[in-house]
Symmetry: C2
Subunit: 340 residues, 2 copies
């Protein structure tokens, strides 16, 4: 954990790169009053984890440094509720269980400092089930559908499973005994439901912390359905380079996935490790240049003194370097079982 | 069990007074091929049991005599899903658990021959929960709502609990290990859902047997919300007489609750016990008359040689006599805890 941080330093670390916090006063009280507040993030073990996941992994690393106890819920049952077949469930879980801690480690955080919890290990217990049924007596079909709408693939004819999903996510806060839940801003409606419903069955509302949703590195959205639009943790450097080379990134216009990835992920990692981002260019294109902050980089990009091609090249290199310690052989085997 | 019944006698007994059977061929095969087929009826421990319940209790008695093993599910969790508060749940269950076997006994059937099962004793187990979540991935919100619509009080803004209800009722068939479910025709949509959905999670469809829904003895419907429209098992003879005296029953017109009660319940009991229904009248109104079958009685009623007043009087007497062995003091105590 290194040196002791002051309250203000911890507060700064806790809040940075968040979009919204519901219950900010409660969070402040937790941070000053509780020795080790507990946060959890749930990730349904659905599609292949991709570098968009770094947003919350970095945020959890912040919270860890700020003195939180961190739990990562590998939500296998939620994956089933969101359409993963019962037969694939265990394989999907096995992949997540292997790749997420490996990525955490690649970012310089010892995964032993995070507790990884399998959803089905506690969500099938009688007390949980009873609470789920109790909560379902308070939540209308309408409100459950609304809560699920930005997270679950509901389609034209929503399945009952999709609208049970938000209630279980709310209950997880209680059964994981956490003080705060972390998630993307897409989780907002589920977070609000959790705040409203837990007290109705005798539990207290938790703090809800949201990170921004990044568009894909490549397209305009980190599309869950198009693998080519996402960088997979197991992509080799040639694949990463190829995908990024196709990314939308107009000279001088910073509103794109590459720049947002730099802002929210890559430059955060760089700054935290006190290393600059070094762009290597032939002398005729400006030569080597180093950036210590995103602001510097953005300024140059807007001024067109940093060209998208050079930027893409360094981003691709940095991503490949970040994950070159992953046991790709082992993970690929697991991924094949999980995704066929 | 008395003398051994032939297949045809058992088949007759099984089928009488039913409205519909889904899977009649399967039922025939069960009856000839299985030593002791198993049937269950679920009753959610919601409102006060009333004499309308006799329809299914008599039907279960038939099935018992025909060689079935009989389970009665006292569905406490279903009651919660249908709006009974968590706080009242145990009290409601306690009342049902006491009054239903007492009524069974009053009808001349040893309740030891029926197995009474509490819903929450098995519906909260991990396997059940997992199957419920699995099934919810196959059932649309729309279809679950449709299935629940005639059984659960959904209202204008249905709660999620109300549409989970049918799925649990379907699963109960598997977890109670039954061959057939019995219920009123109002259960039809849930029964159809059970037939459709159980095979999707690897279980076989069960036979579904339906009894007619009787209108209330008194009004046109056995209204669940108006206690004055129903005869409670604990009503004293004066109350029974008073309620029945107000019943709709036009001279010569057999289409009313009193006549239907006679047809489906009272004359069934009489015939089975080989005793006639004896109407005592002053000589000037026709004197004493005995009926061995409903057909005889209906004929006289239509011919206006049996007056509604005399009929009501005997029906009230018979009902009171039927339940005069109940331990009203003990049951009233339990009812007060359950219904305040």
């Amino acid at each position: 954990m290194g040196k002791q941080l002051s309250f203000d330093e911890r507060w700064e670390l806790v809040k940075r790169n968040t979009s919204e916090i519901i219950g900010e006063d409660e969070l402040r009280a937790l941070l000053s009053g509780k020795r080790k507040p507990v946060v959890y993030l749930g990730t349904a073990t659905t599609g292949r984890p991709h570098i968009g996941y770094l947003v919350w992994i970095l945020k959890l690393a912040d919270l860890l440094r700020a003195g939180f106890s961190v739990k990562v819920l590998l939500a296998d049952l939620h994956a089933m509720l969101d359409g993963v077949s019962f037969e694939s469930l265990e394989h999907r879980y096995n992949y997540y269980e292997a790749v997420i801690p490996a990525v955490v480690k690649a970012l310089g955080v010892d995964p032993k400092h995070m507790e990884f919890v399998k959803g089905s290990s506690f969500e099938l217990r009688p007390n949980y089930m009873q609470d789920l049924l109790r909560m379902s007596t308070f939540v209308s079909v309408h409100d459950a559908t609304k809560a699920a709408s930005e997270v679950v693939k509901l389609g034209d004819n929503p399945k009952l499973s999709g609208i049970i999903y938000p209630l279980m996510q709310a209950l997880d806060e209680e059964y994981l005994q956490v003080d705060m839940q972390l998630g993307g801003v897409d989780q907002r409606k589920i977070f609000v439901l959790a705040r409203e419903q837990l007290p109705k069955i005798g539990y207290h509302a938790r703090v809800e912390m949201m990170t921004p949703l990044l568009p894909g590195l490549i397209g305009t959205k980190m599309s869950a359905s198009d693998p080519a639009s996402k960088i997979d943790f197991l992509d080799d450097s040639a694949t990463v380079e190829k995908k990024i080379s196709k990314a939308y990134c107009l000279e001088g216009e910073p509103d794109n996935g590459i720049m947002l990835f730099l802002k929210h992920i890559l430059m955060v990692i760089k700054q935290d490790s006190k290393k600059p981002l070094v762009v290597q260019r032939p002398a005729k294109f400006g030569g080597k240049v180093s950036y210590h902050t995103y602001a510097q980089l953005e300024k140059d990009f807007i001024a067109k003194s940093l060209h998208p091609m050079d930027l893409k090249k360094v981003v691709a290199q940095e991503i490949s370097a970040l994950f070159d310690t992953l046991d790709v052989k082992k993970l690929t085997k697991l991924a094949q079982k999980a995704y066929g």
